[in-house]
Symmetry: C3
Subunit: 197 residues, 3 copies
């Protein structure tokens, strides 16, 4: 019952909060689960290569370098499966760059990871806009409601393509206001069902 | 002019009715066509393995077992091409499970089947809700209009991914109220055009 | 910094105008770029095979022949990379036929072309309808606003599948009324960023 689970969500859905709750919950229940941020692994690899860059800059960096680092990150992540039962990869369905929307999980990466489940954390567009306005810690563009709706749609269409390619089911989990514990529990339940089956 | 055609539709679009009319129409015209329900073939394989389960339960069964049986069903279906010219596979673009929306035709199955055409039977969301309320024979969840709209959308995005992967065109056929004969004729016409060309 | 860029747009977005501006702009800047119309290359191959047909008829021609010619067109296009730095392939995300919506760039073609960028030229649905009504030179069906909206949606979902399969980012460029020069400049900027990186 080992497996890789992809968890994505556009900025403002509260993905990090849900995943923190998830880790705590798994620990409580004695389940060997680890959440790994794909971007952080990529950054670490870049640092090792001598390129120190901030978190938001990574979105705007060289596409070719990004692709290469993406592959390396993938291999490094999979090494964790030796010690852990559940690997939750915290990532994005797509990354906005000046050159367009880059798929977070292209075919070659999906084949490498062979995920058992793809999760989209979602919130209502209005709630996402509210959270984005509260969060000043990141260099985020202030996006309008229509942009948020587009991002939700694009995440879903990319997820459906990832689903057909990998064979993994797509689960949409709503993270409503003040309900992050419920969302985390929902996530753990789904993962256990997929991996036990 | 032999070929496999995928026909899908979410519960309530009247897919079974259209396919019954289609079989009758093909018979009338002396065309060797057979409609095969993917789920029924899967169930039969499960029964042979000694696992008797009801039709609606199959949606909730083990994912891994489902995957394996899916592959076997695929091979068994293709054997029919020896005797038939047109194989219509009656299936779903996606299957709702507790673990999320499972793709009905993942990449490996698409490569196996190599369909010539992918058909989505659709109806208006309001008509689908009406039909679902009338049908008490199945253990269906009473879904709201917004859920039906979501299911139509998800079917389309999954279909578009299946189209790019297989190279097969996607045809949307509307099954309006009392117009199942027209829908069946439309389906046969499309199939003949694709397979003759 | 050589590469292939896919540029698509549904009829009425003004794709041809933008691409003409693009070619002029590239020439001005001394950039070796060439725009190749996928359909024209296919027609030329058909003519060489002794089948003279008009531009709009190609949409309705044999699917199998279309597939074969598609592959040959692909190879012929790639030969241009010896002399050019940027190859812009002017094509469609999907082609409407009597048999349904045929994917313009199925998996095998995407693997052959390995594009660096996928561009969707878009305009508002209202503007597209207006342009289609003005254009009488082609045998186009007069489509309603809802059909145009559907075509935009289908292009996007097909593009997202192409993105996951190829790993190329998707860039949506708006071609507003009288702003084709801006759209062309935007296109060139994106291409240069992708190919330099």
């Amino acid at each position: 019952m080992k497996g890789i689970v992809i968890v994505t969500g556009i900025p403002g859905v509260g993905k990090t909060t849900v995943l923190n709750e998830f880790e705590e919950l798994a620990k409580e229940k004695g389940i060997k689960a680890k959440v790994i941020n794909f971007g952080s692994v990529m950054m670490k690899i870049l640092e090792e290569k001598g390129k120190f860059i901030d978190r938001d800059y990574i979105r705007r960096t060289s596409i070719k370098l990004q692709k290469q680092v993406q592959k390396e990150a993938c291999e490094r992540i999979k090494e964790n499966l030796e010690e852990e039962d559940i690997l939750v990869i915290d990532t994005h369905m797509f990354v906005q760059t000046d050159c367009g929307m880059y798929p977070g999980l292209p075919l070659n990466i999906l084949k490498e990871l062979a995920p058992s489940l793809i999760v989209l954390i979602e919130s209502s567009p209005e709630e996402i806009v509210r959270r984005r306005e509260l969060d000043k810690s990141r260099l985020r563009d202030k996006k309008m409601l229509s942009d948020v709706k587009f991002d939700i749609e694009w995440s879903r269409t990319i997820a459906s393509a990832c689903s057909v390619i990998s064979g993994a089911p797509v689960k949409i989990i709503n993270n409503e206001k003040e309900k992050q514990k419920e969302a985390a529990k929902h996530l753990l339940d789904c993962i256990l069902k997929v991996l036990v089956s």
